[in-house]
Point group: C2
Chain length 256, copies 2
């Protein structure tokens, strides 16, 4: 029987607020067995960029990452957020290790080709080094991954944190019984965005495609669900999209 | 017979300049066997702080680290510099992993007590987790350590990079035949600061104390040499202070 592995991605406004982040970290600590945390932090990056007079340009929910912006996201994601989270987890008795995709070549990406849009230094995942992650997990460490990756040729890249969570979940599905949980500030995928109780409890890929065509799910929820179903198709046991406050409880949307 | 371990600390203006840094990284890659890199980056932190309107206060060569400055150094040391170096080393075929002292609880510090001077969030090394470093080295990884540590209670701290290099060298001296090399922009400890050829080739602790009393060595060189002799006393095989361009050659000052 395979060992379990819980991969939790936390993003949205949860990371920006010390109280909500610490609640989430407390719940993460309570998860038994092997685990990995994936953190975002886009709003902190936007705010630091503004302080430095660098405009944040978002297209379809994705950040355009020119060189000054790459410096900002590297500092915020791999430095400020990652190490704050690691220090908090260590204080709570979890043997966290904060990593980006360049560390031990954990996530190798290819710079997104310039098409209709030039995203700049944005990386699409090419390969996950499952062996390196297994080595760290076997050593009793809890990887905390941030959305900075590299191309293996010396270039750091900015990669969507939801995609990172989905990619590592998929790469580790052969070795572990993986549950992937996307935590954010909403209760799950909502039928009515204005009604927090209208959580869709279960969703299959065909449901998603229908909801998307009917524009019941839209915006940033579409790539999140695409990542969720990519993971399911790659053999991940279970993907849950839920409120960060509800991590560890049986709530939110389960993708099957 | 113990395996060799080379610990290289690079600081000063070497880190700020892409060309000198890349030369140093090339020489670091050529070192055979187990190795660890310790990076500084103070001048980049000073420059980012200035851009954000935060003054850098230095007393006796040590940075006063209030909360805004702690954010800056965490972003610059653990994010920008660490991950840039890791991506470059990975491109050169070295399996680098960028870490701060909070990661796997590698360096546990105590916040420096407020005395004559309040250094703020500055940490003095209490304990090095040699087991964690050995685990990573045994897994074929090359740790790249930055001068951010923690107190184990959730507080990140700023710790002098020379001290980090000396502390980890000392902690690993029981397991490895350790050589510690301090790389900076000068050729070594100079008898005459205006004459780059006046390198003191060998120095014992008694020599250091005499040079210090005669003010031949002064300023930042004093704590660097104190760190060097602390390492020697803890069983480190050899400590070399040399120009970053000369890493791997038989030059600079050797502390015995």
């Amino acid at each position: 029987m395979k060992k379990t592995l819980n991969i939790v991605k936390v993003g949205g406004s949860v990371v920006e607020n010390d109280e909500s982040l610490n609640t989430l970290l407390g719940a993460f600590c309570s998860i038994k067995g092997n685990k990995i945390l994936v953190t975002g932090g886009g709003k902190i990056a936007t705010s630091l960029a503004a302080e430095l007079g660098i405009p944040s340009v978002m297209i379809e929910g994705r950040r355009i990452t020119d060189e000054p912006m790459l410096r900002i996201v590297t500092m915020v994601y791999a430095g400020l957020v990652s190490k704050y989270v690691v220090a908090e987890l260590q204080a709570k008795g979890v043997n966290a290790i904060g990593l980006c995709g360049a560390d031990m070549n954990i996530i190798n990406c290819v710079k997104r080709p310039v098409g209709r849009i030039d995203y700049g230094f944005v990386g699409d995942v090419k390969n996950v080094n499952a062996t390196a992650l297994r080595t760290l997990i076997d050593a009793g460490a809890v990887p905390v991954l941030c959305p900075i990756t590299h191309d293996g040729l010396g270039q750091l890249l900015n990669t969507n944190a939801d995609t990172i969570a989905s990619s590592i979940a998929s790469a580790l599905a052969a070795d572990y019984d993986v549950t992937l949980t996307y935590c954010f500030e909403k209760n799950g995928v909502l039928l009515d965005p204005d009604d927090p109780t209208s959580v869709i409890r279960e969703m299959r890929k065909a449901d998603f495609e229908r909801y998307r065509d009917e524009e019941i799910v839209s915006g940033g929820m579409i790539p999140k669900l695409e990542n969720a179903f990519n993971a399911i198709e790659a053999g991940v046991n279970k993907v849950v999209i839920t409120n960060a406050q509800n991590l560890g409880t049986d709530s939110g949307t389960e993708c099957l």
